[in-house]
Symmetry: C2
DNA sequence: TTTAGACCGCTATATTCTAGCATTCAGAGC
DNA sequence: GCTCTGAATGCTAGAATATAGCGGTCTAAA
């Protein structure tokens, strides 16, 4: 049951993020809010410099640190994920629980789906345990062809 | 059974790569050979620009494309892997078989171990199948603490 | 109201990677 | 051997991604 934040409803995600900020005493400043909005609206992976360009239209003083600091905040608090293989950022569709993201990335249409695959996590844990390795974070990005593009 | 190319013996890896090149009609030119040597000697993840600096000492004309083209060759033919989360390159300890790499990365000592965890791959395949997604390549990089650093 | 820390504006710079074009070289066919 | 072709390399430039650092401003707590 993978889904994108877009399908999940950006308003719902937004509400969830706001709630989390209130509860954890985090400051969802206008800048951070706007960057999150832009990512949600995109409905897919967005590049930092594309965010910067968007920001600039309404925020003349925006510079790289403007965007990267907002992204850092959103990443640290697990409101978005970074796609390591693409240098891109996607919203998290269930920001309540802290987790590493697992992604299916279609090489045909570039659609990205965040999944929650416990078997995969179990496999990671088992393999790590055999090495005496204590995992703290897993990066899983699977490339291939999505259902739509197979048809 | 994780191991680094270093532990596996750089000469053995080298022999294996040379064999593969002969069989597949690939040209392991001096430049490519030297870059592979540098990666093997490093015994861990190496950055492209560190390779470039090393190359420059013996090869005055070396420039970024010099390194990146050699890396591309080694990557395409599965003689090395790229660590996506670190923009770094590591040698593959069994370059005979083509495969996506799976890595355990220690946050304390930066040691990287390539593992081969079928359960993990199975988990990926199962999760992908549920989405109707046909995987072609998986990127798995697990961060945590290695056995040595736990002690 | 003071104050410490978080946040932001701004400039500069670091880091990673690629485009493009000319030259050289290796191997295939003659 | 000679020629041709595609692969490999030399070289310059520049794109894309990310960070350092410093001073000013705002916020929330004491
Ligand atoms: Zn998520
Ligand atoms: Zn697709
Ligand atoms: Zn490998
Ligand atoms: Zn360690």
């Amino acid at each position: 049951m993978g889904q994108t934040a877009h399908e999940h409803g950006t308003t719902a995600v937004f509400a969830s993020v706001e709630k989390a900020c209130r509860e954890r005493g985090l400051r969802l400043t206008p800048l951070r809010r706007q960057v999150l909005e832009l990512i949600l609206q995109a409905g897919g992976p967005v590049k930092a410099y594309d965010l910067l360009d968007s920001l600039k239209t309404s925020h003349h003083s925006a510079a790289p640190p403007t965007v990267y600091r907002a992204l850092d905040f959103l990443l640290e608090n697990h409101f978005i994920h970074r796609l390591e293989t693409r240098n891109a950022y996607v919203s998290c569709f269930h920001p309540e629980a802290s987790h590493s993201g697992q992604f299916l990335i279609c090489e045909q249409c570039d659609q990205v789906t965040e999944i929650n695959a416990p078997e995969m996590t179990q496999g990671v844990l088992k393999a790590a345990a055999e090495q005496g390795f204590k995992p703290s974070k897993e990066v899983v990005e699977v490339y291939g062809t999505c259902r739509k593009c197979i048809e």
